[in-house]
């Protein structure tokens, strides 16, 4: 690119101001006019007429002046722009050259930043998709979930009965529309095989409440709200694609649901699945408001504009109380409900869906912020160590006429190049992580299908990394050019290096402190998780497989048809090779939700303030169940095949129930009954307590009934395997299809898997936190290594002299290690202090571990201290190998 002389002139000139341009133009034009006047006067004109003529010949000076000004300022602007671009190019070329000269530095800085950005952009994407973004329905802020709560009965998230539902739908004026739904496994016949899919049964206003209409056909509506609805179904988009290959004429066709030909009336648009992504079909609930029993409906409502959830809660609670006053027997409630904590809960739908995820995500978000801070700290440190090494170069450039701004810009360009490279790498890596994560089976968070790296997150994290680049470049740039030129040129850079090292030392202490806080938090969560895994559940889940057997409702509408089938099933399966023990149960542990009922003990007066009688989990079992899943029998006997429907009603209770009323074997022979049923049940055995809902909650009292006396149409078969499960499962399948061909057999899951499902979110949090903590510790170790290397480089001369006058290398190693240890101790202590304050925030992530658990604090504190000292050992060894001659010559 060749430049004209005019350019060069502009380059040399300082930036031309508007005023100087104007003054030059005025002078030039005035000179012309006065020259013309003089010439005219010399020809004999009077000064006045010479002036008039000169002006007339010149034209309007104002027009000329403004035209000249426009031309000049435009060229001045162009010149400035070119100059700026030229110097930016030069900076970039220079940055690329210097970074190539120190590839390790460039690589470490870029990778450090990339890791920090990747971790944070991935977690921010989760937070953004799950917590921050509104639900994908029109006006989602008005959607609420409605449930009931009756703490005295141990019911915190109590679903609605059909009667309750209709009461709120018709009586609560706060709702614009109100719907109920019930998620159920549904059996379809597909290619002649029964298959289990997830369906949801909904009331007529379901799609109105959510504000989403089918893309084909019609939605389920109020006309479907009667006890015997026509068999119709609305397909989810995924189901439509997989089972009908996206057939646009699907409406009007039929599918076999539970043996009933069911007409397809609509197809939902892609992306719609409520309440969770597993739902494939929507069917009418067949609402019967006269049904007073059976609390299974989840309520979801759309509030009228401007109505608060709190107001709707008060209104629906009023309705609930009125209802409860008229139903004293149903609830066993003989006092004014106002005196109890009976109430409805109205929660914004977004919170209801994501509530349990909010805290783990908040902790993870804090963790990645810490990582990002540590990473940025490392980059700043790398830059400032390198900048001190380059102080002479900078001084020379200043002496040659580079302004302070120019030098700072050069340094900033370098850091920005790294920041942009690291940030971009990090975002690409983060997006890959997010994609891998959302497609992995461990990702069972709510709304996970909506998660993806958004522009919002990418822009934010890139901005953060560029900000960090700016700061990293600035930190050393600020104290560089202020130094006295002579000092730098003469080579005595000691003072600046000391100040750089002081900055770096505080950075390293801060990094260590942050790492300790993160490590300790992760340690506490991990210890909690180990505690959870080690919790004695009261039974032995390993090697037990549970197979759910949803029976076709038409054939088993009389529940008494079930026990003969179960008896046959158990006899035939227990004869199979590889089967240790087997039984039928309703419902197995960790199958999601249990049935509870109030229990009344003979001879113990019902509590006067009714509603506070104890609750028991009710389970129906065939003989051998306790043996199969490993619940110990303490006293009395197991249920037996002789406990028939027409025999003596018996029950086996667990210790959690028995110990409330009796000591040891005293429970045997006593009688109890359930509220709502007047039959007295004789206690024939006492078994050990179990945890079968959540690992972290205490065991609840259980009552076990003989299956023949309390049958259910959705039994599960539990099998204790002697060896490999799969051949046994195949054999069981054959037995089941022979006995009852209409039963789908895809609900096979080991008990351990079921327990894992409950622990998934915790396991995920634990794994991610562990990874982040290790990353933080590694980055902090890099930081310690960096700052100690700088320390050794700076004292190279001193160490050389010390060696020359007889200091031993070991002595030097000890000195350097000592310096490193001081930083490590400071960082670890500050971090432990911070952790003491901060870990209380982990709240429910902790289980049977104190937020100040000394083992975790001391162990991890010492661990990180050891890591830090190790990281300073490498520079220390370098110090010991200092060559006195080289060291002295270097300056």
């Amino acid at each position: 690119m060749s430049l004209g002389p005019g350019w060069r002139r502009l380059f040399r000139l300082p930036v031309r101001t508007k005023r100087s341009i104007c003054a030059d133009i005025d002078d030039e034009l005035a000179f012309h006019i006065s020259m013309r006047e003089e010439t005219l006067e010399r020809r004999g004109m009077s000064p006045e007429s010479a002036h008039r003529t000169a002006l007339a010949r010149f034209g309007n000076p104002d027009v000329v002046r403004s035209e000249c000004f426009t031309v000049d300022s435009q060229f001045a602007r162009e010149a400035r722009m070119t100059e700026w671009l030229e110097s930016l190019l030069a900076d970039l070329r220079f940055a690329a050259r210097t970074l190539r000269r120190t590839p390790v530095f460039a690589l470490v800085a870029t990778l450090t930043l990339a890791l920090g950005v990747a971790a944070s952009s991935a977690i921010f994407s989760l937070v953004d998709g799950i917590l921050l973004r509104p639900l994908p329905y029109p006006d989602p802020g008005r959607l609420v979930r409605v449930a009931q709560s009756f703490p005295e009965k141990g019911l915190s998230n109590w679903s609605l009965s059909q009667e309750n539902f209709a009461m709120y739908r018709d009586g609560a004026s706060d709702f614009q529309s109100f719907a109920g739904y019930w998620v159920r496994g549904t059996t379809i016949q597909s290619d002649g095989q029964p298959k289990r899919i997830v369906g949801v049964q909904v009331t007529g206003d379901f799609f109105t409440v959510l504000g989403v209409q089918p893309m084909l056909g019609r939605a389920i509506s109020r006309v479907d709200d009667h006890p015997n609805p026509t068999a119709v179904v609305v397909l989810g988009n995924g189901f439509w694609l997989t089972h009908f290959a996206g057939d646009p004429n699907v409406v009007g066709k039929t599918i076999d649901l539970y043996g009933t030909p069911t007409r397809v009336i609509g197809v939902m648009p892609p992306g719609f699945a409520f309440p969770d992504p597993t739902v494939q079909v929507y069917r009418p609930l067949g609402l019967d408001p006269s049904r007073r029993f059976g609390w299974f409906i989840r309520g979801v409502g759309r509030l009228k504009p401007g109505v608060s959830p709190e107001h709707a809660r008060a209104q629906t609670t009023g309705l609930l109380w009125t209802w409860a006053r008229n139903e004293p027997d149903l609830l066993g409630l003989r006092v004014d409900p106002k005196a109890t904590h009976l109430q409805t809960t109205v929660t914004p739908l977004h919170d209801a869906m994501t509530g349990e995820t909010a805290q783990p995500l908040a902790v993870l978000q804090a963790a990645v912020m810490v990582i990002l801070l540590i990473a940025v700290g490392n980059v700043a440190m790398l830059f400032s160590s390198r900048a001190t090494g380059r102080s002479r170069e900078v001084a020379v450039r200043s002496a040659l006429g580079a302004t302070r701004e120019r030098v700072m810009r050069q340094l900033l360009t370098e850091s920005m190049v790294l920041a942009i490279a690291g940030g971009t790498m990090g975002i690409v890596l983060g997006a890959t992580l997010v994609r891998a994560f959302t497609h992995s089976p461990i990702a069972t968070l709510p709304r996970i299908t909506e998660v993806g790296m958004s522009w919002r997150v990418a822009t934010f994290t890139l901005a953060v990394s560029m900000m960090s680049g700016l700061l990293c470049g600035l930190a050393p740039a600020i104290h560089l050019p202020r130094r006295r030129l002579a000092d730098a040129l003469s080579g005595s850079t000691q003072s600046s290096r000391t100040s750089a090292r002081r900055l770096n030392s505080s950075l390293v202490v801060a990094q260590l402190a942050l790492s300790v806080m993160l490590l300790v938090s992760a340690g506490l969560v991990i210890k909690s998780f180990r505690r959870l895994l080690g919790t004695d559940l009261g039974f032995t889940p390993s090697n037990v497989t549970s197979i759910s057997l949803p029976l076709p409702p038409q054939r088993y509408s009389d529940r008494m048809a079930v026990p003969p089938l179960t008896e046959q099933l158990v006899r035939r399966v227990s004869a199979l090779p590889g089967v240790g023990a087997t039984a039928v149960v309703w419902s197995p542990p960790f199958s999601g939700g249990v049935n509870t009922d109030g229990d009344l003990i003979e001879g113990h007066a019902p509590p006067p303030d009714a509603g506070s009688e104890t609750q028991t989990v009710t389970i129906s079992v065939t003989p051998g169940y306790f043996n199969t899943i490993g619940i110990p029998l303490r006293y009395g006997r197991d249920v037996s095949w002789d406990d028939r429907a027409n025999g003596l009603p018996v029950v086996v209770v667990d210790e959690a129930l028995a110990s409330r009323y009796w000591v040891g074997a005293d429970a045997i022979g006593k009688r109890m009954r359930l509220t709502g049923d007047t039959t007295w049940l004789t206690i024939v055995g006492v078994v050990g307590s179990i945890r079968d809902e959540d690992v972290a909650t205490l065991p609840r009292p259980h009552s076990y009934f003989p299956y023949a006396q309390q049958p259910s149409a959705s039994p599960s078969l539990v099998v204790r395997m002697r060896g490999d499960a799969s051949p046994v499962v195949a054999a069981v399948r054959r037995v089941v299809s022979e006995l009852e061909p209409a039963v789908p057999l895809d609900g096979v899951r080991s008990l351990s898997e079921s327990i894992d499902v409950v622990l998934r979110t915790r396991r995920l949090t634990e794994a991610l936190l562990l990874g982040f903590a290790l990353l933080a510790a590694t980055l902090a170790a890099v930081g310690v290594y960096g700052v100690m290397s700088l320390y050794v480089t700076n004292r190279h001369r001193e160490f050389g002299i010390r060696l020359a006058i007889g200091a031993s290398p070991q002595n030097l190693v000890r000195r350097v290690l000592g310096e490193g240890s001081v930083l490590a101790v400071l960082g670890v202590l500050i971090g432990m202090g911070g952790a003491l304050i901060g870990t209380g925030w982990l709240g429910t992530l902790l289980y049977q571990v104190s937020p100040t658990d000394p083992e975790v604090f001391v162990g991890l504190g010492l661990g990180l201290f050891a890591v830090a000292v190790t990281a300073s050992y490498l520079p220390a060894r370098r110090a010991a190998r200092s060559d006195p001659l080289v060291a002295l010559r270097a300056e």
Partner: protein
Amino acid sequence: MAHAESDLLRSSLDLLILKALSWGPMHGYAVSEWIESATDTVLLVEEGTLYPALHRLEGRGWITAEWGVSDRNRRAKFYKLSAAGRARFRAESSVWHRHADAIAGALRQTSAAAAEGR
């Protein structure tokens, strides 16, 4: 139409300025005097129009400007042809000659048939 005329004038004015400066450094007034005498005042109706042209040429790098002292001992801005300007002048003037000859020839044509004779 006025636009075309001013374009034509501007390019000829640029060429004349370069020609004037090919004699040596001059201030704006001297340039205007030279153009006046060389063209019998035909081209430069208003002397002021010279200055934006000078500044434009300066911005393009074809002439350079420097403040100096005039022969009457007054501060004046002197313009000088740069190497790039000299090259530009040579290229432009030969183009101008070609065009002028072609246009003059065309204007002298007396019959439409002459076009076929070529």
